[in-house]
């Protein structure tokens, strides 16, 4: 069967994305630390709640508090850290860690932010950045000193098994990357294809191109709605509300309205030929509006969305190579499924057209 292979590929990719995207566990991480503020010069104990961790015995677990580049009298110091002196396992996800914090901080600011690093041979090493604020005790006021801050962070264990990154803010919703973001990527491809077919129709006048353009727009619009809903699910977790009137959400809603108007416009033209011509011109217009609405205006306003309002895009550390192994197939899979749906739609339209012609003689 000619033309079957890419449909099989689409199915396999979607199956892979759903299974891998939902089943692969997250890497271990630190969910919370209590208390969040420690005073220098004392033996201090903190309670740590982990995520997806398998703590067994305290002996093999090590923990560090690391100050990121402390400043001494205006000069940047070296990274400095202290090692825990005892780790007690309370449960597979709970630890109690004690540190002997030296009397003087190696920074002249009087306080410093410290990251908590935990190394467990079973789960590998993981970090909670800026977990704890260390304060210089007022009773022991004195000059900053690097003494006691020279622990080396070394011999870290690697985690075994395939995992997705753990990000405290996102937690399990990081998997939405494979659905929400892939849907928007494939929507851009489908809508671009629809606009290209619309332009080809305007140039050549072949009605087949218009049928393809309309079918691709239909599927693109459906993907846009799915993209919007998956985005709302994500926003409900990370931003607190499914709809917070963010500029990215508003502009997306407007873009979808513009595409909805495409179908209203087509439906309100009596003659098929006119509907095709007007629809094709409007389709190009709509695509030209889509780009600034989704990618330019949100960048110029304050927004919560990654890649907008000066935020970095979702990439770098958040999108590691394991995620890319699911994310890119996701884009291809969704695009192929979209093309498949569109093809079914335009083939039906072509058959209807043929029947109509035959009936008219």
């Amino acid at each position: 069967m000619k033309g079957l292979w890419w449909k099989v590929l689409a199915l396999l990719l979607m199956l892979y994305v759903v299974l891998a995207g939902l089943l692969i566990p997250l890497k271990s991480g630190i969910q919370s630390v209590e208390p969040m503020q420690l005073t220098a010069g004392q033996q201090q104990t903190i309670r740590v709640e982990g995520y997806n961790t398998h703590f067994e015995s305290g002996e093999e677990i090590r923990a560090w508090l690391r100050l990121g580049s402390p400043r001494v009298e205006g000069k940047e110091g070296r990274d400095t850290a202290i090692l825990s002196n005892s780790v007690k396992v309370i449960g597979v996800q709970d630890l109690s860690i004690s540190f002997q914090v030296p009397a003087y901080l190696p920074t002249s600011d009087g306080a410093a932010r410290a990251s908590l690093i935990i190394d467990n041979p079973k789960d590998g090493a993981f970090v909670l950045p800026e977990a704890i604020i260390l304060k210089q005790s007022e009773a022991l006021a004195g000059p900053p000193s690097p003494q006691g801050w020279s622990s080396q962070i070394e011999n870290l264990s690697a985690s075994s098994g395939i995992t997705f990154p753990f990000r405290g803010l996102l937690a399990e919703t990081i998997r939405n990357q494979y659905f929400h973001v892939s849907l928007w990527f494939s929507l851009m491809i489908l809508m671009l294809a629809a606009a290209v077919y619309a332009a080809r129709f305007l140039i050549s006048g072949r009605s087949e191109f218009d049928r393809r353009s309309e079918a691709l727009t239909k599927v693109g619009l459906a993907f846009g709605m799915l993209g919007l809903f998956t985005g709302m699910v994500w926003a409900n977790f990370t931003w607190g509300k499914p709809w917070s009137g963010d500029v990215k959400q508003n502009m997306t809603a407007i873009a979808l309205l513009i595409y909805l108007a495409y179908f209203v416009l087509r439906a309100s033209v009596a003659s098929d030929q006119q509907a095709s011509r007007i629809g094709a011109a409007y389709n190009i217009f709509a695509f030209a509006m889509l780009i600034p609405l989704l990618y330019i205006i949100p960048r110029m306003r304050a927004s919560l969305h990654p890649g907008a309002g000066g935020n970095p895009g979702f990439g770098g550390e958040d999108l590691d190579s394991t995620m890319r192994m699911v994310f890119y197939p996701g884009i291809i899979g969704f695009t192929l499924v979209g093309l498949w749906l569109a093809q079914l739609s335009w083939r039906t339209a072509r058959l209807k057209h043929k029947i109509q012609e035959r009936l008219l003689g």
Partner: protein, 218 residues
């Protein structure tokens, strides 16, 4: 081409002066709305003043420009097709509609000032915003009017098509207006003006591309 545009623009202006139908209609709508507001609210604070001004301009534009091509697309269609290129007709319409909206905007500004006082602190910025808004609305709505000209229920369709497209423009314009009224402190005014300019440029580019093919067939 330029000669054609000037002739067509002159024709539009003369027809409007002779008939005064659309100008009078939109003006009546605008002044009626302002007057209703003054009856309902008594006094209007600057925030509401700003919103009121731009919303009246938007609805006036949709009402007034939605029927831009009602003459050309009916009985005179084939006559026009022999005489002019579609682009010069479109450009003439855009220029006329921009002037039309500027006039409406200035009159609404005057009436609002008369009834509620004039809260505009930065007159230069406000005028520039009004001009950019008129140009943008005129470019987009004239295009949509041509698109909807051959459709049943044309003006209704223009409203459906226009609102989503015009919202980003209107949001930017309302923000710039608020800056001109000193309601908000804004450092990115240039960015917003650039955005307006970009929308206008986009509309011009699309019109150049699409108007000829929209016009071609009856």
């Amino acid at each position: 081409m330029i000669g054609q545009i000037i002739t067509l623009l002159g024709l539009e202006v003369r027809l409007e002066f002779r008939q005064r139908a659309s100008l009078a209609g939109v003006l009546l709508f605008a002044i009626g709305t302002v007057y209703l507001f003054s009856l309902a609210f008594g006094s209007v604070e600057p925030r509401l003043w700003n919103a009121l001004f731009w919303i009246i301009l938007l609805f006036g534009a949709v009402n007034g420009l939605g029927r831009s091509f009602s003459r050309e697309l009916t009985y005179r269609y084939s006559y026009y097709q022999q005489l002019t290129s579609p682009l010069s007709l479109y450009v003439a319409k855009v220029l006329f509609n921009t002037l039309f909206l500027l006039l409406i905007g200035l009159l609404v500004w005057g009436v609002l000032s008369l009834l509620f006082g004039n809260p505009v602190k930065d007159i230069g910025l406000f005028s520039l915003t009004l001009f950019m808004a008129s140009l943008g609305l005129s470019l987009i709505l004239t295009f949509l009017a041509l698109l909807a000209g051959r459709v049943n229920n044309g003006p209704g369709i223009v409203a459906i098509l226009a609102f989503p497209v015009v919202i980003p423009l209107l949001l930017t314009v309302v923000k710039l207006g608020a800056v001109a009224l000193r309601l908000i402190q804004q450092t990115s005014t240039n960015k917003d003006l650039l955005l307006l300019f970009g929308v206008d440029l986009l509309a011009i580019g699309l019109a150049l591309l699409l108007v000829p093919s929209l016009w071609k067939e009856a």
